[in-house]
């Protein structure tokens, strides 16, 4: 980690795990402004746990997470909510719950006890909806949307929360291929145009390699970080397929059967 640079998210000697089981140890990584990063790794390696730890939903075994130069432990839940927004895998398809109300809830850290939206809040809500291309859906109910539309609404909610960091847990799961690309393009544009630091976990390796600025990879208790080209050249990506019947082709950047 370059000590001169200011990072939005910094992991300082971070070790994660549950009880006796250690997911990974001693990760020292910094994610910067406007950086679009995919978090990859096989099932159960700790991708979700890492995202949840950065969002202060879980506690680390050891080490610390810093946000914009301050340790997470010194921030109140309100201050964390103003720095990080989280798009979880929880499906929100509540009957009668309006899209605009969901996005409006993103303003929760800034509204009064009753959740009243000011003119400025409402402006931000409609901007967020416009950014994800869902302006026409404001009065629609969440249970009438498709999976892709719902994911866009949840991203708009994160945008309305107006945080420098957005974390997303498998935002492309359950989406069809065009929608996977659309969502990733949208996220990349938000990172580059709005200067957000966006970190998302995914199993779509080819999309991650193709579209992200940097890749964070957890494998076999170790944390790897670098650009797609760098990780491929070092042969790191190939580790994902050790002990399996497929392998990674560095030329086509795809996978193929070994036999």
């Amino acid at each position: 980690m370059d000590t001169q640079r200011i990072y939005t998210i910094e992991l300082h000697g971070l070790s994660l795990g549950y009880g006796d089981r250690i997911l990974f140890e001693n990760a020292d990584i910094g994610f910067g402004w406007g950086e679009f990063t995919a978090l990859i790794g096989r099932n159960g390696t700790g991708k979700s746990t890492l995202l949840r730890t950065i969002a202060a939903l879980n506690r680390p075994l050891k080490g610390e997470v810093w946000l914009s130069g301050k340790p997470l432990s010194e921030l109140s839940s309100r201050e964390i909510a103003a720095r990080i927004s989280f798009v979880s895998t929880d499906e929100v398809r509540v009957t009668n719950l309006k899209v605009a109300d969901v996005v409006g809830l993103g303003r929760a850290p800034y509204t009064n006890w009753f959740g009243t939206l000011s003119a400025d809040d409402r402006q931000r809500v409609s901007e967020a909806l416009a950014l994800v291309g869902m302006s026409g859906f404001a009065r629609k109910s969440m249970d009438t949307l498709s999976d892709g539309e719902r994911q866009r609404v949840m991203i708009a909610r994160a945008l309305a929360q107006d945080t420098p960091v957005i974390l997303l847990d498998e935002p492309t799961a359950f989406l069809d291929l065009p929608n996977k690309y659309e969502i990733c393009l949208l996220l990349r544009e938000l990172a580059h145009k709005q200067g957000k630091c966006i970190l998302f976990s995914t199993h779509d390796l080819s999309i991650a390699l193709e579209m992200c600025d940097t890749i964070a990879m957890i494998d076999d208790g170790r944390f790897y970080y670098g650009t797609a080209a760098g990780l491929i050249a070092e042969g790191t990506i190939q580790h994902l397929f050790d002990d399996t019947s497929i392998c990674f082709d560095a030329v086509t950047r795809g996978v193929r059967l070994k036999f």
């Binding site: 929880d90 929100v92 309006k98 109300d101 809830l105 929760a108 009753f114």
Partner: protein, 341 residues
Amino acid sequence: MSGSRRTIFCFVSLSVLLLVLLCADILLGSVSLSPADVWAALVGGDPDSTASVIVTRFRLPKAVVALLVGAALSASGLQMQTLFRNPLAGPYVLGISSGASLGVALFLLGMPLLGLSASGDLLRNLGVVGSAWVGAALILLVIMVVSVRIKDIMAILILGMMFGSAASAFVEILQYLSPEGALKSFVIWTMGSLGGVSSGQLSILLPVTVVGLLISICLVKPLNMLLLGENYARTMGMNIRRVRGLIFLSTTLLAGTVTAFCGPIGFIGIAVPHVARMLFAEADHRVLMPASMLLGATAMLLCDIVSQMPGYDMVLPINTITALLGIPVVIVVIVRNRKVF
């Protein structure tokens, strides 16, 4: 009709309906009184006339109790449905009313068995309501702790029913052991009655219910955040422990107090929030919370009018009427299997 127009329309028509039913509830009863007599009694005519005694000592307090009970049970049901993300949650179904009943049974039946007796009305009332709070709080606490580990909706419901059955079993053992006098007062209590609330009891019921309702109004924003799930709520800065604690407090006060003085009243807490969702076509608690309170109060007035069988010299137990009114709603919710959460 746009959202806010529909909301206003529903609120206005419900309020009108509430007023009409309130008048009907005071006008109708086993003794038929003319509207003129009732009016005279209300505005302070001869305080010793039969009409005046019936209206001011019985019908008016009973109508006020109906309003409070309906609003209280509905508000606690709505909070539980959102907290547990479970459309079938409610104070009765989750065994919280049973917990309160067990508390009251231990107080009304257990104390005489031990040779203790609470002398004086105030002491007795405080004992009943206090033991109901403890009983309701214990069951709610266990369910909340378990629901953190077990996310399965059905498991929580079955657990609540098990608690309810266990509480009933204990109560039956107590009943079996109890002398006739204590038993009779307890059996009358279990039948549930709005009219049985004395003015002394009302002076506890009213302020406690109002406090419970005020807390639930204060919780509308966190309840809205919980609609998206706990992860979203917490990452939006919600203090989950404090919110759980407040929901716990408000539900215990509301469901416990109502059960203490009116007996276990089922199906209002579970059914009314659903009817409010359907009528208002809303999920926002800023609308749903007051709507459920208003609708609950209205429904309870209706149940009370039906239960006193105007013109007949008998009163049906209120919980039989609420069950007959509420169960169809619950069945509709199950059959339509709407994704409420």
